[in-house]
């Protein structure tokens, strides 16, 4: 036990200052971002993540949000196992046709009001995989999307900027 405690003491607090929200990531046609939601959610946010067909690159960066450096829980944001507990749906990948129904059902299972953030070039525009017999392309082809975070994959900082953009009170669009 003393080794664990020494290691924790030696490591110190590694958490860095969070970035500002990047409001450019908001989609112009976001229907769901309005003051009522923001009042409701404030800065305590519960996220449900769904991989709708990604290459697993974006997942690596979502995991990194839990590192001491980004410490996402310290910002009042946590990941939930059930969509019924979630305020925000974080979707990675182009939506594969085999995941289309599961994604819709997850979205439907979330309580209102709810937000959707599409992650990565694939989530934004289909990315390298595009639309095909196997892929529906971007997330907004399947469910409404409020914020898109580009990148292949987006860095943890970009992810935070996008997630905060979904819940930051501002009239700027």
């Amino acid at each position: 036990m003393h080794k664990i405690l020494f290691q924790i003491l030696r490591t110190g607090i590694q958490t860095e200052h969070p970035p500002e929200a990047n409001l450019d990531y908001r989609t112009p046609d976001a229907q769901q971002l309005h003051e009522e939601i923001l009042k409701c959610l404030g800065k305590a946010l519960v996220i449900r993540h769904v991989d709708a067909g990604s290459c697993n690159g974006c997942e690596l960066e979502i995991h990194a949000l839990n590192t001491p450096q980004y410490n996402i829980e310290g910002l009042g944001i946590k990941f939930a196992a059930s969509p019924r507990h979630a305020d925000l749906l974080l979707v990675t990948g182009p939506v594969s046709r085999h995941m289309e129904e599961a994604l819709k059902r997850t979205f439907d299972a979330m309580p209102e009001p709810k937000l959707v953030v599409a992650v990565g070039d694939c989530g934004c525009n289909g990315g390298i995989f595009g639309e095909s017999y196997a892929s529906c392309g971007r997330v907004s082809n399947v469910i409404p999307v409020d914020v898109v975070i580009p990148g292949c994959p987006p860095t943890p900082t970009q992810l935070l900027q996008g997630i905060l953009a979904a819940v930051t009170q501002s009239n700027a669009r």
Partner: protein, 515 residues
Amino acid sequence: MDLHDFPAGLTAIPGAMPVWHSEVSPEQLRVACTRIREDGGRLVSLWGSDERQRGGGFALHVALVDQPGLICLTLPIAAASPEYPAIDDLYPVANRMQRAAYDLLGIRAQGTADQRPWLRHSAWPADAFPLRKEFNAKAAYPASGNKYPFVQVTGNGVHEIAVGPVHAGTIEPGHFRFSVVGERVLRLEERLGYTHKGIEKLAENMSVADAAKLVGRVSGDSTAAYAWAFAMAAESIAGFTPPPRSLWLRALLLERERIANHLGDLGYLGNDVALAFGFAQFWRLKEEWLRTQHDLFGHRYLMDCIVPGGVRSELNATDLVRLLDEAEALEQQVTKLQDIYHEHAGVQDRFLSTGRVAPELAARLGLTGLAGRASAQAWDLREQYPATPYDRLEVRMATQRNGDVAARVNVRFDEIYESLRLVRLILNGLPAGATMQELPPLPDNGFGIGWVEGWRGEVLVALHIGKDGAIHRLHPHDPSWQNWPVLEHAVIGNIVPDFPLINKSFNLSYSGQDL
């Protein structure tokens, strides 16, 4: 096996790895597969191709490894009766690959009981085959039926737990069907294919440059391994050897990718046995490692750094010092954490004897990569078939015999130390010269294979070129094909709450096998 005794004449394919190729008859295919099996060899990959526009019918390709190297067999199949003899009686791992070959190309394995769809769920109808040339890749079909006949376990007190495709954490999608009595797992059946996004169809007619980007996104956590395997295949077809400095840099990137993934897994394995300290510590180290990669190679996960012809990365003297110092510091940190993991009774209690795959079972089922090495399957391409620069580095393979979660943890620790040793050797021995040279044009109808020991196991990329450098058929193969079926065995007799731990100890790719 002595290659002179081989049932069909073998032609050596030039390139970085020892690869032979031969066209075979159905009988010769069975004889060759049987003899390689008896010889202790393994099946690496199985895929099909449509050769009707090139004057043939269809073709089945089977890549096997035997002591001398990789043996690739091609069986021509008549378009009028698209069938071939099954080989899953010899190599159980072939079963899902055979089913995928039918789903995608409509060539049927004869003489096997399990003919259920594998990659096809509902996105395209049963009588359409995406990898046939006439198939319209842009078409969107109405969802077809999606009833999958899972094997039912019956008996007193047996019930089913269905999990997925959407899992509880940040994980790729797949479905697991557990049959349990109380807390104990009687049977697990996996259903994968949810992330199928048509990668192989997309690659048709692509240029080599575009496909390099695509292959780097088959499984994002193994992008360096895939990119190198693809480059190796293209360079083999072009009869081209990239500059030595680029090969040494590729190995540096591959070893860094291995270290990054092992750090992440060791953190999560701590997390899954309620040692959140382990997660915080290992992921702190991983994050620093990734930031260095962003600074020096331009991408946190090294995507698009390795390209046919060389690498897009260059290091100066200051960078080398930074990387050497980083390796030294990381080794000290990991040593401390390993000591803590080893001394922690709660951690060891959960790791030891959990999710055990005995060596005999691993050999029979063809368990590969790091999970294989944890079950005494002593295969590591870097040691056995060392391509430049591994021929100068004398890689020391990490193996364990227990085959449990603890063994897979230990292999990861050993491989981090070994990769750090290799990183230092590479940085100190990096030859001078160019890092990139233009790839000569690829000859029409060329065929090449790339084969690389990624962090999870061996990644194979088969590349068939058509005319004017355009791709005729591209097949990327992930070691997860081999290891997913073994996971079904590893959980038998364990309790359901240990499944996440066992699953994480394998950490297999969904995207890599769903394609």
